[in-house]
């Protein structure tokens, strides 16, 4: 029994770690889409950031520089997306897709040029990464039944970026609902004309939104390669950007529900990893593929309206043009 309990705790612990990039990207998506800009390129930005963080960390030895560079690169690509969609009123889905494909190609091409390891970066030492931060008294607390174990296993021992991810949910909520920027941003996604005729620049707000999204994706990507992992591996985002998108939709474009969705999807992934090779009585090995495919299937079911309706911001996807 104690063993199952421990397994359960470890799974929850893993959930937090696995959900971190999802949470950051989902918040990024919320900022962008609430302002009216569809962002399919969470995946691509995350991939580029992961690569940048690992490369800079490897070359400079400092994970902080890696993080900073990753954020910068992600924001540059956000600007590109914004440039195409806002200034040139290009198709937002296509722009996002282009960035994703570009990211896949660019990361490997540059990776080979820099490190000649088939697209990977060299394995990073712990000095070059963000390591786990044990919280005070974790070891002593471990003895305390239940609460202690939870504290020791789940709460303590995460790296800084995990806490930043959780913080980002809180900050997103405050910004969106308690600041004037948030009010204006939400209005821009629903009815940009109302914002324009109130004397506020729709363009400016949308650019700010995509830049914030870039910042968050940058942290997400850096997390993957220099906090969670120990280097960049090609295609290491493995569809997480799309799952984050799904979580955002699941959460109806609101921060806390999206967080819940991310945790749920993260739990499924952690569970699948843990159940790999485990047999159910009489049935043989659990099909972990089935568990891993659940986030995608659940998103489709949600979108089909079978578990509530998911209505996006009204003006999303339509470039804003002053009528004449």
């Amino acid at each position: 029994m104690a063993d199952i309990w421990l397994q359960f705790l470890l799974t929850i612990d893993a959930t937090l770690r696995v959900s971190t990039p999802l949470i950051l990207c989902a918040m990024a998506g919320i900022f962008s889409e609430r302002s009216g800009i569809i962002d399919i390129s969470l995946e691509g930005k995350m991939l580029l950031s992961a690569f940048t963080a690992a490369s800079v960390a490897a070359l400079s030895g400092s994970p902080w520089l890696g993080l900073g560079a990753a954020i910068l690169v992600s924001m540059i690509f956000s600007l590109l997306h914004g440039f195409a969609c806002i200034t040139h009123r290009g198709n937002q889905v296509i722009s996002g897709l282009a960035i994703n494909i570009l990211a896949s190609g660019l990361t490997v091409t540059l990776g080979i040029a820099l490190f000649a390891q088939g697209g990977q970066t060299p394995y990073l030492s712990s000095a070059q990464r963000f390591s786990a931060i044990p919280l005070p008294f974790a070891d002593t607390m471990r003895q305390v039944p239940i609460i202690g174990t939870i504290y020791a296993e789940i709460i303590s021992g995460h790296n800084l970026l995990v806490w930043i991810a959780l913080l980002s949910v809180f900050v997103t909520g405050i910004v969106l609902y308690r600041t004037r920027f948030g009010l204006r941003l939400r209005a821009t996604g629903e009815k940009p004309e109302a914002v324009d005729t109130a004397g506020i620049s729709v363009t400016r707000i949308r650019y700010q939104a995509v830049l914030i999204a870039g910042l968050l994706c940058g942290i997400a990507g850096a997390y993957l390669s220099i906090a969670h992992g120990a280097g960049f591996v090609r295609e290491m985002t493995a569809g997480k950007g799309y799952i984050a998108l799904a979580a955002m939709i699941f959460g109806h474009w609101r921060p806390v529900p999206a967080l819940m969705a991310c945790l749920m999807f993260g739990f499924l992934e952690a569970l699948a990893a843990r159940l790999q090779g485990v047999d159910i009585l009489f049935l043989g090995p659990i099909p972990t593929d089935l568990i891993l495919v659940l986030p995608y299937v659940l998103t489709v079911v949600l979108l089909a309206g079978f578990i509530g309706r998911a209505t996006p911001p009204k003006a999303i996807g339509q470039p804003y043009v002053k009528e004449r």
């Binding site: 290009g90 897709l97 570009l102 540059l110």
Partner: protein, 380 residues
């Protein structure tokens, strides 16, 4: 300087070339940044695509894939539907071929198996396309998200089946057994050599002809049939289509079925034309390339043909570059593909104002079109 709206032939013919040129320039800059000579790289690419022995065959072989996936995306685009699910639809199309071939090849002569497998590829792909279509039409689920999800779901299904039920007995790798002898499309070099025309070896096969037929078929469908008219109308205005007495939901589903079917046919090229068994990941991202092809080709079969040839050359040339350069791999082709999608799709209008000014300079002020329509307030 007066700007003048561009005539259709410039819009369709010249603008794509400018967009590609821009993409190549950016790619060239990146290549230079990693220390290689972009011009050399380009020449290797061109030789690899057209000049070396068998190169043209390979180029056309890849182009066949892109024709199918490009047509798939284009047909859906005409109804303003973004079919990002070409990958998944092609995979499931391949599954269809596999199921037919594996179950029937001990029972029927190879030719019949092939003749049954070909439409099955389309049918399976059509089903995989129609489900997101149904979800969009009847439940309002955004087709971009659902088709992306369905790609992942298809991939999972393929892994599950090929590593499980359909796996060749006694094997360790996730793939089916080989189809029976003769269940495969003839390769064109074989036919050519048989009738006395020397031709280098390449995987180019009869599905190329099916692709060409599909190009013509799609053109006729979209511009010369009632269904095509209604599809295009639905893409612009669902309300108008309802007013005219049609059901947009039905049209959306039919369009996605056709689109999925075309993507499914891509499997012919790889599965029946080359592999003669079902393997994982035979789609290799070609579904996404189809998007680039459709964008570049402006959703018109002729443009798609040209764009497919270009991308075929890119992929084949890319393989050559991978071979000859230490520092550049096939991923560079992905990079160029992304840049092309960026310039042709999202930034398509970026060069428009410049071109309009140039055109205005060269051609002089406009005299025969009516003045631009102002949006009028809605009162009588």
């Amino acid at each position: 300087m007066m700007r003048r709206p561009l005539p259709k032939w410039i819009d369709i013919g010249v603008m794509p070339i400018i967009n590609i040129f821009a993409a190549f320039v950016v790619a060239g800059i990146i290549i230079a940044l990693i220390g290689e000579n972009p011009i050399t790289a380009l020449s290797v690419m061109v030789k690899g695509a057209f000049v070396y022995k068998g190169a043209l065959g390979y180029t056309l072989f890849y182009a066949t894939n892109f024709i199918f996936t490009g047509l798939a995306v284009a047909v859906a685009f005409h109804a303003t539907l973004f079919n990002i699910g070409g990958e998944g639809q092609a995979m499931i199309g391949g599954l269809g071929i596999g199921i037919v071939a594996l179950s029937l090849d001990p029972l029927l002569p190879p030719l019949l198996v092939i003749l049954l497998a070909i439409p099955m590829a389309a049918v399976f792909g059509a089903i995989w396309g129609m489900i997101p279509g149904w979800l969009q039409a009847k439940r309002g689920s955004h087709i971009v998200i659902t088709t992306i999800m369905f790609n992942f779901i298809a991939s999972s299904i393929m892994v599950w089946l090929l590593a499980g039920m359909l796996m060749a007995p006694g094997q360790m790798s996730p793939e089916t057994r080989h189809f029976a002898e003769g269940v495969g499309l003839l390769q064109i070099h074989q036919i050519a050599n048989a009738i006395g025309i020397p031709m280098a070896r390449s995987p180019l096969n009869l599905s190329f002809l099916v692709a060409l037929a599909a190009l013509v078929g799609v053109w006729v469908l979209i511009w010369r049939t009632r269904l095509g008219y209604i599809i295009r109308a639905t893409g612009h205005s669902e309300k108008a289509v309802i007013y005219a007495g049609h059901d947009p939901a039905k049209i959306i589903m039919i369009t996605m079925a056709i689109s999925g079917g075309l993507a499914g046919l891509m499997a012919l090229n790889e599965i029946l034309g080359v592999q003669e068994r079902v393997i994982l990941n035979f789609t290799s991202g070609y579904g996404f390339t189809g998007i680039a092809v459709a964008l570049m080709g402006r959703n018109h079969p002729f443009g798609i043909l040209l764009a497919s040839l270009l991308f075929g050359a890119l992929y084949q040339g890319g393989a050559e570059i991978d071979f000859e350069f230490q520092t550049i791999t096939r991923e560079m082709v992905l990079m160029i593909q992304g840049l092309i999608i960026l310039f042709s799709g999202a930034l398509a209008l970026m060069f428009h104002p410049l071109m309009e000014r140039l055109y205005g300079m060269i051609a002089g002020p406009d005299s025969n079109t009516s003045p631009p329509k102002t949006k009028r307030a809605e009162h009588g």
